[in-house]
């Protein structure tokens, strides 16, 4: 049996597919463990869902095929929270408030602040505390 992996996904619903219980099917039919970070799914509007799925690679691939049948686009690099490198001054105001270390010092010598998207749990604190407006939400 192939190893269990966790993948962070951002799903974009062009028009609402929210009457369909997609998450239920991910769990029930595709054996995935689902951890939803953030969702904005409103009837008649575009929707977003950022989540971790944990399961075998085969199960995840099968689940993605299933999700695509709903005209939902899948972004496997997450990107629910975006950092604009040009606006970031590397001051570090975000560092003590980022709960997972997604925003961290990349080099002790240059004190450059880096962003590891995979570690981000989308708490959105950085958006509120960045003095330079460098962090933003995709939705």
């Amino acid at each position: 049996m192939s190893p269990i992996v966790t993948q962070k996904l951002m799903l974009f619903f062009p028009r609402c597919e929210c009457e369909k219980p997609i998450i239920y099917h991910l769990v029930k039919d595709h054996n995935l463990i689902v951890n939803v970070y953030r969702a904005k799914v409103t009837p008649e509007e575009e929707g977003y869902l950022v989540l971790d799925v944990t399961g075998t690679e085969e199960d995840i691939a099968g689940a993605m095929d299933f999700v695509r049948t709903f005209n939902v686009s899948i972004n496997t690099t997450g990107r629910g929270v975006i950092r604009d490198d040009k606006r970031c001054t590397h001051c570090g105001a975000c560092l003590a408030l980022c709960p997972t270390g997604a925003l961290h010092i990349a080099s002790a010598a240059t004190r450059e602040v880096a962003y590891s998207e995979a570690k981000c749990i989308e708490c959105l604190k950085c958006i509120k505390v960045c003095p330079f407006g460098a962090c933003a939400s995709a939705f």
């Binding site: 001054t89 590397h90 001051c91 570090g92 105001a93 975000c94 560092l95 003590a96 408030l97 010092i105 002790a108 240059t110 004190r111 450059e112 602040v113 509120k128 505390v129 003095p131 330079f132 407006g133």
Partner: protein
Amino acid sequence: MNSRQNGTSAAIPLTLEQKPMKTYEQINDRIASGKAVVLTADEIMDYVDKKGLTAAAEEVDVVTTATFGPMCSSGCFLNFGHSKPKIRMSEAWVQDVLVYTGIAAVDVYLGATQLRHGDPANMYHPGEFRYGGGHVIEDLVAGKPLQLFALSYGTDEYPLRELRTWFTIHDLNQAIMVNPRNCYQNYNVAINDSDKTIYTYMGTLEPNRKNAAYCSAGQLSPLLNDPSYETIGIGTRVWLAGAQGQIYAEGTQHAGAEARTPEGIPMGGAGTLALTADMKHMNPEFVRGVSLRGYGVSLALGVGIPIPILNADILKRTCIRDRDILAPVVDYSRDYPQKTGRVIAYVSYEQLRSGEIEIEGKKIAVGSLSSYHKALKIANLLADEIRRGDFLLSPPLACLPKDTAMKPLVIREEPK
């Protein structure tokens, strides 16, 4: 100094380290001929450790220092030139941000912390303060078109009573940054002793000392590399956001007499600088509007100041390291607003930069408002300008005071 007290100057015995090695003129000659040896305040310690103090002092001409962070007491004078017909502006707004018009007809002062007209401020606490004076200054330096709206009561020679137009920095006769207080020598570390989140100019502070915030470039900061103001004084040429400017006065709240370590390093705010430079020569990367949730708007600026290595003593002071600089940890929920004067502890910048400090047995995550990354970039840009012969040093015209303390504002009854 003893010599001051007995009124003679000839009696000062110079230590070997204070013995003059170079003059400003000699250093400037070497800069002009492209031969100056320039290091940053981030590099100099290891260099001196390797070469030895005296040899390094002979060799090194200039050490560059820098800082980048929010500096609220900043702003600029703008001159618009005259419209046809003319107006004597009595009220004016740039991008809906109020500017001061209590000066000549088409001169205004735009301050960094001015809010945009209609900003709800903290009416729904904490306010977001997305755009204000600091952001207008950023956009101005970036060359963006800005809207001017001005009103006047009308006079015989200035009859126009209302004006709306768009301009860029290139349309202005002058755009001169004039900052009453920049480059604090040292600064508080802010924490929150209360049980609810507070929103301050040091950022968002979570309850029960969950996080701390500091704001200094530490070992790279200008006045920490010249703690007794031996070379940095009024008239010193500085690098202000890429433009060549000057220190025009001591900064407001300058308090040279602040408590110091035995090595002479201030353990609190202490010195400040009033800076000016032509905004038309500034680099927008180092002029950045700041939004502080629940507090307001401000302006982050990059400043670089060269220190001439006139003798070994001056060089020794530039070798300061983060571990030698202490900052006071202050509670911003009660002690700071109520001006109790309580300092909870002192921590070094080395501890602060580790990302965690320990106060009274509790580990506290640390963030910063000052960008060491940008400061390092500025120190290197300035070093390059000096090496290329494009930036000459100027000796101070007057010294910054070392003996002044900060006075409080006393709330009094009306004098009889």
